[in-house]
Structures are given as C-alpha cells and as structure tokens.
Symmetry: C2
Subunit: 259 residues, 2 copies
C-alpha cells in the first residue's frame, strides 16, 4: 500500500562542502519531525486511538496533511517514531535496575508493564496503531534495537553460567521476543489485564529460560514459573467472578471486544 518512504534516516553527505555547520535543510526537517512526533504523542494521549487521524495530527502539529507523509511516509511510521523515543527511556531505566542475570528478564517485563500502567490508553493506542496495521511493524519489533537488547541479556545470562552455552543467544532472544510480543498484543487488544500481562510474560520467560537452564538456575526458574502459574490461576478465578457478576447484574452485552 504505502509507497516506500524516503530514507530520511540515512545521513548522506557526499558533498564535500561540509565543514562549519550541518545543512540547515536537514536540520529543519529533523526539527519538523520532532514537532510532529511531539504532536502525535500529545494527540494520542488526549484522544486515544479513536480520535487520532492524520488530519487531526496535521492540524495539531500545525502542518499540512501532506507533510507527515513527506517526512515519515505513513501513519505507522509516525507511530514508530513515537515508540522509539519510548524505547530509549525504557532501556535507560532498565540499565539502572539492580538485578542479577536471571532476574533482569523478569524485571524487564515488570518495567514494561509499569510503564504501560502509567499511561495505559496511550500505550495501547500507539502499540495498536504501530503493530496492528501492516507488516513493516514486525521488522521493527523483532529486528532492530529491541532484538539487540534481548540478545545482550541472554548473552549475559549465558556467560554468567545461568544458561546452557549450547544455546546460542540469537535464536533464544528471538524466542523470548515472540513470547513477550504476543502477550503485549493480547493486552493491547483488551484480552488481558496489565496484571495478567506481567504474570504471563514472566511465566513464559521462566519456562523458556528453564528450557535452556543450567543446574545453577534451573530450580529458581521452576519456582518462578510455578509462582506465576499460581498468580495466573488466581487472576482467572477473579476474572471469572467479575464476568459472572457482570452477566447477572446487567443486560447481556455484545460479545464484541472493540471499544
């Protein structure tokens, strides 16, 4: 559908007349991009996915509707620019956490859910727009800096003797990303609560890690998995109770989960 966007990320300065300052051409473009991303963020926060249209974004940013298309290429690309800013924050915070090579995986899940919890509607909407609409999103999810991050964590655990060194970090990291991504998508789509997202992500991680565990880590990983399993069971019991009450108290509602 979308025409390939201009490759604005690739700095190309073949010209030899670059010595005293950056080209203001690219500079002001970058400026405008930031303006649009900032506008996109606040618009998302204010209106959520429903009220977020490219026309509204253009108006909010004070530019023509053609401009975001010139600068980003598509709505999805704008969403990714918003997400990537978040990723930096996430990684900084993750860096600061004190955790050993195994716990860091679970802390990573908790950190993500706590960030989501701070602005749930915003994150839901942005993730929905980014990943639920066209395939390019997946490349950014599994390919870019996210993959590098997870692979590093896996590698650390391996070198610390917590993971069997027969398992190589690349494939294993992708597997972890798959698990967490599906959980996030279920939350985004309203099929699980943030509590459940956290528990299910940690459960999936614990099980997968245990699949490549060494004797140094295998027991605590089973404990973690079973603890999360227990929490999930409790959450489901609670959820069923809520559903039952909702069913008896009010008129039966449509099955459709969309807002």
């Amino acid at each position: 559908m979308a025409k390939p966007p201009r490759m604005w990320h690739k700095a190309r300065w073949d010209r030899r007349t670059v010595n005293h300052r950056m080209a203001t051409r690219e500079e002001s473009k970058e400026q405008r991009r930031r303006t649009i991303v900032r506008a996109a963020r606040t618009l998302m926060q204010e209106t959520g996915q429903a009220g977020f249209s490219m026309r509204a974004l253009a108006e909010k940013a004070g530019v023509s509707i053609a401009t975001p298309y010139n600068l980003f290429g598509s709505k999805q690309a704008v969403m990714f620019a918003v997400l990537d800013a978040d990723l930096e924050q996430y990684q900084i915070q993750l860096e600061r956490l004190k955790a050993d090579e195994i716990d860091v995986f679970f802390k990573a899940v908790s950190l993500a859910t706590s960030m989501y919890s701070a602005e749930p509607n915003f994150h839901r909407a942005v993730l929905l727009a980014a990943y639920n609409d066209g395939g390019t999103g997946y490349r950014a999810m599994f390919g870019g800096p996210r993959h590098v991050m997870w692979r590093r964590l896996v590698n650390n655990a391996r070198e610390a003797g917590m993971l069997d060194s027969d398992f190589e970090p690349n494939s294993f990291a992708i597997n972890l990303q798959h698990i967490f991504f599906s959980c996030i998508m279920e939350w985004v789509n309203g099929l699980m609560s943030l509590e459940e997202l956290e528990a299910r992500g940690q459960y999936g991680f614990a099980v997968a890690l245990r699949g490549a565990a060494t004797p140094a880590s295998i027991d605590r990983l089973k404990d973690k998995a079973l603890a999360m399993q227990k929490r999930l069971k409790a959450l489901h019991k609670k959820q069923r109770r809520v559903e039952r009450e909702a069913l008896t108290m009010t008129a039966p509602r449509a099955v459709n989960g969309s807002k």
Copy 2:
C-alpha cells in the same frame, strides 16, 4: 469502530412450533453465509489480499455489499469464517498423524507450515486480514477451539509422563500458542520464510517443552532444540548470502517490506 455484529451463531428457537423442519429463515441465511465464505475463499485465492475488497467480495458472491455486513458484521468476521473452516481440516489431519505425545507438537508445526506451503498467498492474505486488523481476532486465536486443541496436546504429554505435572496445561498451552502465533505473524508479514517458520516454531516449542520436561523427555527435547538452532543458523547464512547477492546485482531497493 465496527458495530457489534448480530449474534447469528446463537441458535435461538424459543418458539414451540418446531417439529418437522428447520426454519427456512435461518436456513437460507446459513446458505448465504456459506456462499459468501466460499466466494471469499476463491476471491482470496485469485487476487490475494490486495484485490480483496468488500465490494469485490459482494460482486463475486452475487450479493449486495450490505449483505456481508448484515450476515457477518465486518470484513474480519468473514475472514474468520474462512479460517475456521480451515481449522477443522487441520485438526482432522493432525488426528490422523502417528506421533507420540512429544513429537505431535513438532508435527503440528510441520503440518501447519505444509498447509501454508500449499497455498501460501491465500493463507498469508487471510491471516493478515484476520489478525492484523482490529483486536477481536486475538480472542479467536487464543480463546476458542485453538486453545482447546493445544491444551489437549499438553495434557496428553503430561499424562504420558513427558511433562512435569507441576505445570498445568492451561497456562502452558497459552504459552505455546503465543510462541507459534508470533512466528506465524512474522511469516505472514514477510519477515521469514516458511522453512524458517517451521524451524523457529519447533525451536520455540522444544525450548518451552524442555522448560517443563521430565527426565523422560528432557534429552530429546534438547536435541530437538539444538537441531532447530542449527537449521536456523544455516537458513540465516543462506539468507544473508541471498541478500548480499541481491544487493550487488540489482539497484539498492527500498527498505520498506510492504508489497
């Protein structure tokens, strides 16, 4: 967005005048639904996702464009009707396969990929339309008959002593679904080949199963995981070679993965 569709699946015959034949009202509705699903399938096969519009579907099925909306509620719901027909076929074929309680997981992956391989464009398009557009799809993926199927397989393995009985089938099955679903979505979105989908799905299953393995299964699961890891490595090497050749032979292409 979409208005809640009519709950056409719920057979409601409170009237007591039902004795000799079904109400032709519902009958012909069902008939029409089948017509539309059949038309949707062939249209998908012929044109792929690109040429598949609700207007085209209506024309192909010989009905007004309003009719699919009356009978299904949304384009996505039509796609799910197509997918559900496939699921039945899949389960029948899976049932026929001879495999022990562990191998059946890997056979299940292979069976899916081989079905996809028979009509790749069709499956890609239908999965894309079903899951990549609005949240209701996820409910069908993780909730319905698919979950029941995976849970049954997990339960079988557990009762056969292949999986630690501390792990309960429900959570574990969902975890497997998450892994496979992400892999499928990556294939659907053109980020991995069918070969890689098969290998990565089996890798993810092997690792997860090993996370809950008993001594009876733990060694073969590691072997399986490492075999898949090796295959993935080989696939990536091949892929990098292909990419390098494509890069040197042709003009540099846009990064954008979309059609």
